[in-house]
Symmetry: C2
Subunit: 212 residues, 2 copies
C-alpha cells in the first residue's frame, strides 16, 4: 500500500517489477548530466512505451510537467525514496559458498544502502574465517542475531535442501523479507516478502528461446 493524494492504493506487481529498472536508468542519465527527459525518450532508453512509463509513475505522484517532461534528478530522488534506498538497511547472509562469497565481496548493494552486517554458515571449517572483513558466524547464532539487531532482510545462499530450514529460523526471529538464491520456492507466512533469484531458471528460459 502506498499513499497518493492521501489515499492508500495498491501498486500492481507489474509496476513494481519495473521500478528498479527506471531507477537504474535514471542514475545513468544523471551520470551523463542529463537534466530533463520526456516520457518518450526515457521510455526508449528503459525499453517501455511512453504511456506505460507515465502510467507507472503516476501511481506514485505527478512528477512530470506538461511541455517539459521530467526533471531527472527530482525523479531519481523520488524513486530512491519510494524504493527505500535513501535509508540504510542491514542484512544477514547465510551460506558462504560460491554465490554467498560473491555477494559478500560485491559492492553493488552497498552502493544502494544495503549492508551485510553478519554472515553465517553451518560448516565448522568456514566458521571463524573472514571474508571481506566479515567473520563467518555459526548458523546457531542466526536467530539471536536477527532478533537482537532487528535485521529486516535475510539472504539465503545455502543448498536447496537446507534453504527451507534457514527460512524458518529467519521467520521465527522476525525477519521481514528474504532474498533467496536457493532453487526452491520457500513456504513462509504470507506477510514475509520473498524475492527469488533462481539463476538456473534464467538459463533454461534462454535455452528454450534459442531452440524455439
Amino acid at each position: 500500500m502506498v499513499e497518493k493524494n492521501g489515499e492508500s492504493i495498491v501498486i500492481p506487481s507489474a509496476v513494481i517489477k519495473r521500478l528498479p529498472k527506471y531507477h537504474r536508468n535514471l542514475e545513468s542519465l544523471l551520470d551523463k548530466g542529463v537534466e530533463r527527459i520526456s516520457s518518450r525518450e526515457f521510455g526508449k532508453i528503459a525499453g517501455v512505451s511512453a504511456p506505460q512509463l507515465r502510467q507507472d509513475l503516476n501511481h506514485f505522484g505527478n512528477f512530470g510537467q506538461q511541455g517539459y517532461g521530467y526533471n531527472v534528478e527530482n525523479l531519481y530522488n523520488a524513486l530512491s525514496k519510494i524504493m527505500g534506498i535513501e535509508k540504510k538497511s542491514n542484512m544477514v547472509l547465510v551460506g558462504v559458498g560460491n554465490i554467498g562469497q560473491a555477494l559478500v565481496n560485491s559492492t553493488d548493494f552497498t552502493k544502494r544502502g544495503f549492508y551485510l552486517s553478519a554472515i553465517f554458515d553451518i560448516n565448522p571449517r568456514l566458521v571463524g574465517i573472514k571474508i571481506n572483513g566479515l567473520e563467518v558466524k555459526d548458523v546457531s547464532q542466526l536467530e539471536n542475531y536477527i532478533t537482537e539487531h532487528k535485521i529486516k532482510i535475510g539472504v539465503i545462499a545455502v543448498p536447496e535442501k537446507a534453504a527451507q530450514e534457514i527460512a524458518n529460523k529467519m521467520v521465527r526471529a522476525g525477519i521481514q523479507g528474504i532474498w533467496n538464491f536457493a532453487p526452491v520456492d520457500l513456504k513462509c507466512p504470507q506477510e514475509i516478502k520473498i524475492e527469488n533469484e533462481h539463476l538456473t531458471e534464467g538459463l533454461l528460459r534462454l535455452s528454450f528461446k534459442i531452440d524455439e
Copy 2:
C-alpha cells in the same frame, strides 16, 4: 515457435517464464518417487492454479489422462526435451570477478547439460590462472573461440561499462543467446536472445515490498 499437431504456434512469454519452475518441481517429485500427480496437487506445489497448469502444458501437447492426471516421469522428460536440456550445450563466460567465479565453480548448470567450455577476462593478472580446472583466456581470443567452436550461449559477468562491448563481440562472432549478469540492458539485434540476471533489482523490489 513450437510445433503442436503439425501446426507451429507461438508460446506466450508468461508460459515460458513458468516452464523451468515446473521442471524443477517435477524433478523433486521424481526424487521423492511420486509416479502420478493431478494438476490440482501439482499446481499447489508449483504455486499456480490447476487450470493454469493445464493451459500451460497444453501449449506443447496433451500429456495428461482424464481420471488419472499426469505421469511424473513422462512429463519431466517431455519438459526436459522442450527446454533443450537433454542435449549438451557449451557456453563461454567473460569476466571472472565475484559472480563470474561463482558461476565457474557452480555445478547447478552442469547438472542440466550446460557446460562452460572457456572463460575469459581482460585483466592480464587473471589471464592464465586456472579456476575449477579452466584456464582464463585473454578476451582478445573471445570472438575466434566462439566462431571456431560454434558456441551458442555467452555469459556476461563483467562490470556495467564493459558489458555492451563484450555483447557486441559475442554477436559478431555468431552467438545465439546471452545470459547477462551486468546491470545494463544490452542493445543487440532482436534475433539474439537475452536473459538478464539483474540481481540488485531483486533486492530493490524486496525493499519496496517490505516498506509498502
